[in-house]
């Protein structure tokens, strides 16, 4: 329950008496909220408003912004590298939602029944999530290296050298190769899901066991329905990550070959820093934000639709 603060005005009417102690308390609440609100306004809400407002202008950082309608956007969709980046970013979010999140959930379901060594396993699986994606991207750049990389080396030692190829230089595989580390490092998702599983009362499983339910049935009929909201939260996090993924393509392929693995963040970076085309970068940002809004709405919709109690 929240702590009550007395009303600031004690008596209504022509001569209202003001309770100064209450006013001071209300001011104090506002004062305490100020730093947090200021951070959000200055670095999230403010830039959000500006990026939307300026995306329809030809502003380049100096002078007065001139309204040019949707020209930035029509230019974007005529740019092949943008279209490719957009498609790839959608692929990233879908892989996050339909591969990474289910794999994290499977790992959590597996961990739930592992007693011996659980802490060590958990520590190892979480380790990559505290390492910078920058370092992991550099590491995987070398793993995929055609001559000295771990992957082709492993394949040839298994007698599968036919499968070996220049993963990051091949337009067929480049995009998927950049997603591999993201998909394999499930530590964070696993912890998030595990924390939801740990709130499920033990009795549910005990009585299911008495009724002769197999582990598969227990997972499917008890655990999964009860952790749906947390899985949805993980999907939301992965969608948000997919929309801003940058390190892996930047370090592993530079977006290449021929934009085959470029993403929206990489496109925005290139427009800003390489091309100094701020109109294009802001229009691409707005497309990213819209994409995010659509995906998040879809997740909420799916969560509602799949509610067993609905």
């Amino acid at each position: 329950m929240l702590i009550e603060i007395p009303r600031a005005r004690l008596r209504e009417g022509p001569a209202p008496r003001i309770d100064w102690k209450a006013v001071r308390q209300r001011l104090a609440v506002a004062l305490y909220l100020f730093p947090g609100l200021a951070l959000v306004m200055l670095f999230l809400v403010g830039p959000l408003i500006f990026v939307v407002a300026l995306s329809t202008t030809n502003w380049i950082g100096i002078g007065v912004p001139k309204e040019i309608g949707l020209a930035n956007f029509t230019d974007l969709f005529r740019d092949q590298s943008f279209v490719k980046s957009l498609i790839n970013t959608i692929a990233w979010t879908l892989v996050g939602a339909f591969i990474q999140a289910p794999l994290s959930t499977l790992a959590a379901l597996a961990m739930m029944r592992i007693k011996r060594g659980a802490k060590v396993i958990r520590t190892i699986l979480v380790l990559p999530n505290v390492i910078a994606a920058t370092a992991l991207a550099l590491l995987w750049y070398f793993i995929f290296n055609p001559t000295l990389g771990l992957l082709n080396g492993t394949l040839s030692s298994l007698g599968l050298s036919k499968l070996a190829r220049p993963w990051l230089e091949d337009p067929q595989t480049a995009l998927w190769a950049t997603m591999v580390p993201f998909c394999l490092y499930v530590g964070f998702g696993m912890i998030l899901i595990s924390s939801a599983i740990s709130t499920i009362p033990h009795e549910y499983y005990e009585s299911a066991e008495l009724d002769g339910a197999t582990i598969r049935q227990q997972d499917w009929h008890i655990t999964l329905p009860l952790i749906r909201p947390t899985v949805a939260l993980l999907v939301l996090f992965n969608v948000s990550y997919g929309l801003r993924t940058f390190e892996y393509p930047f370090f592993m392929t530079g977006g290449g070959p021929a934009n085959a693995s470029s993403t929206m963040s990489l496109y925005i970076y290139n427009q800003m820093i390489v091309g100094l085309r701020f109109g294009a970068s802001m229009a691409a940002s707005v497309v990213t934000l819209l994409l995010g809004a659509v995906f998040m709405a879809a997740v909420f919709f799916a969560l509602r639709r799949s509610d067993p109690l609905r």
């Binding site: 702590i3 001071r24 104090a28 909220l33 670095f43 990026v51 499977l106 994606a133 997972d219 970068s281």
Partner: protein, 269 residues
């Protein structure tokens, strides 16, 4: 969903793809370049830290590390202070309580990279471009929502009786915060702080765009030189990568329980 063998199969597979690449990185970082190309998968012939010393003498790595520490610790301090204050304020009943809460966490799922252009242009205008102050402030804003969410979970779990007892002993609004709420939130703040610090330490996109030279570039930005100017010397790149990872791994090894706790986003206490 999965039986015993599949369960262990999955976990062992995930552990192998985690551990093997990292060990390979560590091993390659002490090889000579020639050795790396001739036998990329064998154990190093001699244990030499030559690559590490070369990184230290060729690259301003300590400057990068210092910048990373300043930006991430600075942001963490700001975020924790703002989060504690806001969480306490939200313990009180006022009309916009719920709205304010939603505003404070609204950025949590925002693809923040999309906000870079206006921030970049504004920073150039007001002189925060290429400065650690600017980078630290941006991180304070970006990672505030997640830090706040974790801190608030802890502040909300403080038993109401303790706060009421303090109030009936005559403690005012500020005193309750200073002597009751803030001290009792220290574990939660530490958990959130570690999480935020690691996130800020690992950030690349903003650091890359908002900085220009080694006076304010972080260790993540420093890494890119190995893929451009230094791409000839792979072992050096490996040594640099290992050095850039040490601080967060160290924090994790010492405080792994807290890091794991932070990843539950405060849903476990």
């Amino acid at each position: 969903m999965i039986g015993k063998s599949l369960r262990w199969g999955l976990i062992v597979f995930l552990m192998v793809v985690t551990v093997v690449p990292l060990l390979w990185l560590l091993m390659s970082s002490i090889k000579t370049e020639q050795e790396l190309f001739n036998s990329p998968f064998s154990l190093p012939r001699s244990w030499s830290l030559a690559n590490y010393f070369a990184v230290i003498s060729d690259q301003p790595i300590f400057l990068y590390l210092r910048n990373s520490i300043i930006a991430s610790l600075g942001a963490t301090t700001v975020i924790l202070a703002a989060s504690l204050l806001a969480s306490y304020a939200l313990l009180h009943q006022f009309r916009l309580n719920k709205t304010v809460f939603l505003v404070l966490i609204f950025g949590i799922l925002l693809p923040t990279n999309a906000l870079i252009t206006p921030i970049f242009l504004a920073f150039i205008k007001i002189g925060l471009y290429n400065s650690l102050l600017g980078l630290g402030l941006v991180y304070s804003g970006m990672f505030f929502p997640i830090g706040f969410l974790v801190v608030k979970g802890y502040v909300d779990s403080i038993p109401r009786e303790i706060i009421d007892a303090g109030r009936s002993d005559g403690a005012g609004f500020h005193q309750v915060f200073r002597h009751i709420v803030a001290p009792l939130s220290v574990p939660g703040a530490a958990t959130a702080g570690i999480f935020v610090m690691i996130s800020a330490w690992n950030e690349l996109f903003y650091a890359l765009i908002l900085t220009q030279d080694s006076s304010s570039q972080t260790v993540q930005v420093g890494m890119r030189y190995f893929l451009t100017t230094y791409n000839a010397d792979y072992p050096l790149a490996f040594a640099f990568t290992v050095m850039s990872m040490i601080p967060t791994i160290l924090v994790f090894v010492i405080l792994s329980d807290r890091v794991v706790q932070a990843m539950t986003l405060g849903s476990l206490k």
